[in-house]
Point group: none
Chain length 230, copies 4
DNA sequence: AATGAATGAGCGTTCATTCAT
DNA sequence: CATGAATGAACGCTCATTCAT
């Protein structure tokens, strides 16, 4: 009765300590990878900055690339959990999209290293595609699709839009803005772009006269006019 | 008098030969960089595939990165010249945007190595920003801005949109689609995404009352249809 | 008075348990070293296979090499004790030599790991020469010398032979055959080489006049008796 | 006509220089491997002692082990060529065997590093078995077999001996003596063991009474006479 | 101009060994 | 006594780049 809790405590303490060390490594690694890129970053630097020996890093991660891949897992999960939670509280597909974009941009804004690693390193690594971290991201992205499809079903969005394309527009824009923001030294605020961006995507950029009369003339391109899509 | 023309010829021949060797190196380098990425690619491989010695490669390019940076210059110039040429022939900002996007996508579609190098390597390299190659790209991109601004000025586009943002939506989407296309092994056709994408961006995704009736005619812009705006 | 016997029991139990753990480590280590060689073998693997922690292994053995060196001690002692025992029962130096060789070969045959460790690892390690394990072997080998010298003294062997050389021939041959046997994946039977080998060494390879008449009594092994060579 | 010989000279000079460097590396490597063994030897040490950069060593040899394996090739070829040459000049199988053993022992005696590498390192490396170097050795060893078989055919050796076994006795003894000689710091002379060794192997160690009468008894040891083995 | 040859500089990874509990 | 955890100390190997011809 005396020993049992003690040893349990010890184990827990050990577990916690290890957890803490692991997180420390991830934190520092994120920093270094974000600043230097994958190749320029060295385990030696991560070890020195985290005050954990290189050998110990290899106790927690099998490989330099393995360490890299394990960086986004937690943050990504956090973001997408939060997303799922919020989406339940919001009515209207447009509003939901706005929330999603806002969540992405605000996350990137506040987790710069995470953003840089995703945008500049992982997005282009084929091996990352088969990773736990990427799985989470993929599932998170499905939410966007779902919202778009709901919007179509409810009549809030047009029936003839291609959900994959709309999702690509949204994500492409987010990533482009974020990448630019990172590459140019993060001068301004990402969040303030959310509203104009969503408005633009939802309403389009075309100015609309009030007369419905002209609608039909407005949209069919000459070269397609005789042949309805598909 | 005997020698002079000969030596001139020789010089010209030498120039041409050097030019040819340089182009050969660039062509092979593009191939290798596209397939392997920057770090995985080696000068040795480029030398072997181009049948030009490693040392000679360093006669033409100062560093491996220098070689990388000089790859896009020509292709980019070609594309943007073409773009400028075409834009003069097209009336209407929406149509111009469509042409721009089409040009981008078709170029990427047909110059896969170029696309891969831009999307996966150069886009994220800060040193590339200060490069001749990037200058060309930047100037090309200004065209998009110009078109958007013209569209706003002419009333074809809404007055309250942010041109930088619209440009970001367009480029972000193009890049996202292209990157996905590359990362997934280039399965389908990029070009066929141009029209739905532009339509979506121009008109937005929000459904509007009474519209369904007319949708098959949807895309003819007023100014093309034969009837003056308003 | 209550405690004393108990603690003694505990101690004994502890002793036995420790002994058992130590033997377990040696057994597993022999296996691993034999399969992988010294450098390729790792303490980690030995620990995992023996289900004893790496740290504990270092409680029993000071270094990896120390562990290696302590492997042969017991087996060697066993063999040489057996040898000494048997030699007392056998008359005649030639027969004694035959017994010795038989004992070696049969031991190697049945303790493959032991054989591999001796032949492929320890034989070439200078530090092993100063080891307890090697001492035992050295003393065992002295027996061979003794037998040879007795043979000379008794007139059974020629007076002009060099005992060191004869011993070298015997041991060299044993080791060569054993090493080959190990290196080639232990295809055939070592023991069956004992008789022809000893015969050869004792009688030499030179043919002698008139000999054929008597040979059937001398050497024909039972299983060959029906088909006289020639 | 002016250039051609010059460039040829240059090329030859380059070739020769490279050859020289390669030989230098092999020489130094032999030294280091012999002194330290394979694992303890480092490329760094070989580089330093040969005054050739580590990187350059890897221009000549693909791998540390590749370097090791290429050490014996030349020496081995030399020895076995010499052997083949001499054997033609010698009459009598016994004499030929003597020459072979002498050649081995004298070679080992004078190429200590070579001897150490063969005896302590390569003999036990399974990958070496599939090497050019080992091929040469194998073919050299066939000579011994050939001589033994010739001796049997000519009646010089007994008909009932097993050539493989005799070869094993010879090689085993050579290797044992050489290994011992190396392991004990090479105190005495290897060559002086050749004659007694060959005599011993050829004539056997059994003392032979002069009386032909006893021949039949001679070989059946008294203590065994009534009980045929097995 | 062209290149064969040489190398400096670096880095990821492995393990035997130790320490704290 | 047993062990989980931590690490120091190496080392083989790669390649972009330069030099000498």
């Amino acid at each position: 009765m005396k020993k049992s809790p003690k040893s349990k405590e010890n184990k827990m303490a050990g577990k916690n300590k290890m957890e803490a060390r692991k997180n420390m490594i991830i934190r520092v690694a994120a920093e270094v990878f974000a600043k230097k890129g994958f190749q320029e970053a060295t385990i030696a630097e991560i070890a020195k900055k985290s005050k954990i020996s290189e050998a110990s890093i290899y106790e927690y991660f099998t490989t330099k690339e393995g360490l890299l891949f394990s960086i986004p897992a937690e943050s990504a999960k956090e973001i997408f959990d939060l997303m799922e939670f919020h989406l339940k509280l919001i009515k209207g597909s447009a509003n939901k999209l706005r929330a999603i974009v806002y969540l992405f941009m605000t996350s990137y804004q506040h987790h710069t290293d995470f953003a840089a690693i995703i945008m500049l390193i992982l997005k282009h690594n084929k091996r990352f595609l088969e990773t736990e971290g990427h799985l989470i991201i993929r599932q998170g992205i499905k939410n966007i699709n779902k919202v778009i499809e709901e919007g179509i079903a409810s009549g809030e969005f047009r029936k003839d839009i291609n959900p994959y394309l709309v999702r690509s527009i949204i994500i492409g824009t987010i990533e482009h803005l974020t990448t630019n923001w990172i590459m140019t030294g993060r001068p301004d605020n990402l969040e303030k772009l959310v509203d104009p961006m969503i408005d633009c995507i939802i309403e389009g950029i075309q100015s609309r006269p009030n007369e419905p009369v002209h609608w039909s003339l407005r949209k069919v391109p000459a070269w397609e006019a005789g042949s309805p899509k598909k």
